[in-house]
């Protein structure tokens, strides 16, 4: 692996745990932090409202 030269050797050799990789990735966190409330609060909520019959 050629990009090894950029970091200290032991940092690269150690496998970074999955959780830490997630926490070190702000854009994945951004996706999760927008998708979760969008699905559970907004989309679910709006779906319920759209089932309320209109008054005649």
């Amino acid at each position: 692996m050629s990009e090894q030269s950029t970091g200290s050797a032991d940092q690269q050799d150690e496998r970074v745990p999955a959780m830490q990789r997630l926490l070190d990735n702000p854009f994945l966190l951004l996706f999760m932090g927008v998708a979760t409330p969008a699905a559970l609060y907004l989309i679910w909520g709006v779906m319920e409202l759209s089932q309320v019959p209109l008054a005649q």
Partner: protein, 574 residues
């Protein structure tokens, strides 16, 4: 110094840095200027909005009843917008730039865009204020349809939100640059991680705001004929509530920052603290549903899943921070040899430093008054006792004023010497300020919660019903609560004014920090540079913190139980 030869070709500006004599950090000039601009404007809105808050509190003080009804609702709208949106979010922009460019030792991404965002926010905030003060937009800051404000009220809010969104992207861009240029080792510091949490929640908040405010604006100018009130509420609160969670994340990041800067406190376990922030990222925004607990047309499944099952994971996050920060302080103090008894570390803490006392009050008021009342009120059944009563403003003055505002004030006492490079003036006033403000805010929050428990509604001009067709008698105790609320409001205003005077004098007329002054009175305590590093404390013993946590949990359980008991009494089942 390594020079990035391609940088100009990629449109990068040439960053100017100075080296901070107190922290050794590289300080990007553009980031510094933006922090100053955002913080100064924030304080102006706090001063204006806080003054409106005083007038509102004096109107709700029965014996004073200051304003006529139309002015009451007008200024209540202005109060909510100026303090909750403009003061807090301008300050948060400063926090984002500080936690990215400064703590990561890095240049700010796209400063021109950051300035554009700042100007949009400023124009938006002024336009919204003009709209409210013109009198056609007394719709409260929630602006529920079908009440209609003037179009420029919504437009102002939209401009403000777009500006804030730009600020968030500049923040994320700066993270990318810091990583690419390797300006930090390993993971980002915990304080920056807290800011990442705030920025993520901000993106969801602003997107939801756009979804609802743009159609509402179009409706106000006549392009859309109808907006469903319930749909409005659901989507509006995805913004209105989530924005409070930006505050929580930013304020918790500041607690960690101040504990680190003053005491050299490292998190007990950085992993656990980062997991607690992850709980915020995933679940905190769902609590928006607590504003809809009495709404028909939405199922109990949706309500209870969002406000209880999922939210409690985020509450768990808060309780982790609430234990972790005092614990980190205790561990750091014990290392200094303050090991006598359970609380020597706390007694001998720098209580005369407003950054420290402000942080402690912020944690205490947020946790004990704001946190416990929030969980109680967010329980679907218990919510019926206090929905739309003054209990609600009582709760959120504990969170957003006692918690967030006080934390922001506390860190300002450090930003003035570090970023503005000025001495704090009127040191004695500064020293007492968190005490006066903290007691005042604890007062208004407790008395409003007390009045709310007795049924007094929020946003109500005259609880005496003097000229109403149908009257209603509140218990005498409710009137007494409103009087005490007025008195506490005056105290809080005095505390707020002390802050504004100290900061304005220091920033504009203060003595510049000289090398001698820095040597004599360093802003950071010993070990304070840990604020810009990742890493945990090792093997701490925390008897004091364990006791404090136990007291908190007992108070929590008792108060929760009392409210179920109370519910069963006002709503007998036989």
């Amino acid at each position: 110094m390594a020079v990035d030869a391609q940088a100009p070709a990629r449109g990068f500006y040439e960053a100017k840095f100075r080296t901070c004599p107190e922290t050794g950090l590289k300080v990007c000039a553009q980031a510094e200027a933006l922090i100053k601009a955002n913080a100064v404007v924030a304080v102006v809105f706090l001063a204006v909005g806080g003054f409106f808050g005083l007038l509102v509190a004096l109107t709700r003080w029965p014996a004073v009843h200051l304003l006529p009804a139309d002015w009451f609702y007008l200024l209540l709208t202005a109060h909510g917008a100026d303090v909750l949106l403009f003061w807090i979010i301008f300050f948060e922009m400063a926090v984002l730039y500080f936690a990215s460019a400064i703590l990561l030792n890095c240049r700010l991404a796209a400063p021109k865009f950051a300035w554009l965002g700042f100007i949009l926010m400023l124009v938006g905030a002024i336009v919204a204020n003009v709209a409210v003060l013109q009198g056609e937009s007394s719709v409260m800051f929630t602006s529920y349809v079908p009440m209609q404000a003037a179009p420029h009220f919504y437009l102002g809010l939209i401009l403000f939100a777009v500006g804030a969104l730009i600020g968030c992207f500049v923040f994320f861009g700066t993270l990318v640059i810091a990583k690419e240029e390797g300006t930090y080792q390993g993971s980002i510091p915990l304080v920056t991680f807290g800011a990442v949490t705030a920025a993520i929640i901000a993106v969801f908040t602003i997107a939801s705001g756009a979804i609802i405010l743009i159609p509402t604006f179009l409706w106000s100018v006549g392009y859309i004929s109808h907006i469903d009130p319930l749909m409005y509420k659901v989507v509006w609160w995805a913004m209105g509530h989530s924005s409070q969670q930006i505050n929580v994340s930013a304020q918790v990041a500041i607690w960690y920052a101040i504990a680190a800067m003053l005491l050299g406190a490292k998190p007990l376990s950085e992993k656990v603290s980062r997991m607690a922030f992850l709980m915020y990222i995933l679940f905190l925004q769902l609590a928006s549903a607590h504003h809809l607990l009495v709404e028909p047309g939405i199922s109990s499944e949706w309500k209870i899943f969002n406000t209880s099952y999922a939210l409690y994971l985020a509450v768990l996050g808060s309780m982790i921070h609430g234990m972790s920060i005092p614990g980190a302080m205790e561990a750091a103090q014990r290392k200094r040899g303050l090991t006598n008894g359970a609380f020597e570390w706390l007694r001998k803490a720098p209580w005369g430093n407003p950054a420290f006392s402000g942080t402690v009050f912020s944690i205490g008021i947020f946790g004990f008054l704001g946190g416990i009342s929030g969980v109680v009120m967010g329980t679907e059944q218990l919510n019926l006792i206090m929905h739309n009563t003054l209990y609600v403003p009582g709760h959120f003055h504990a969170t957003v004023v006692g918690g967030t505002t006080l934390a922001f004030m506390a860190i300002t006492y450090l930003l003035v010497p570090l970023i503005f490079r000025k001495e704090i003036m009127l040191k004695k006033v500064a020293q007492w300020q968190p005490y006066v403000f903290g007691i005042g805010i604890a007062g208004i929050s407790l008395f409003m919660m007390g009045a709310g428990t007795l049924g007094v509604s929020r946003r109500h001009w005259d609880i005496g019903f003097s000229d109403a067709a149908m009257s209603f008698d509140y218990p005498a105790m409710a009137f007494a609560m409103m009087t005490m609320n007025g008195i506490a409001g005056v105290l809080a205003t005095v505390g707020g004014l002390m802050f504004v005077i100290v900061i304005v004098l220091s920033v504009f007329f203060g003595k510049p920090r000289t090398p001698e002054a820095i040597a004599a009175t360093p802003t950071l305590g010993a070990g304070g540079e840990v604020v810009a590093q990742a890493g945990s404390e090792t093997h701490p013993k925390l008897p004091g913190t364990i006791i404090l946590v136990a007291v908190f949990l007992v108070a929590f359980v008792l108060y929760y139980y009392v409210n179920w008991k109370y519910l069963s009494e006002i709503w007998p089942l036989s």
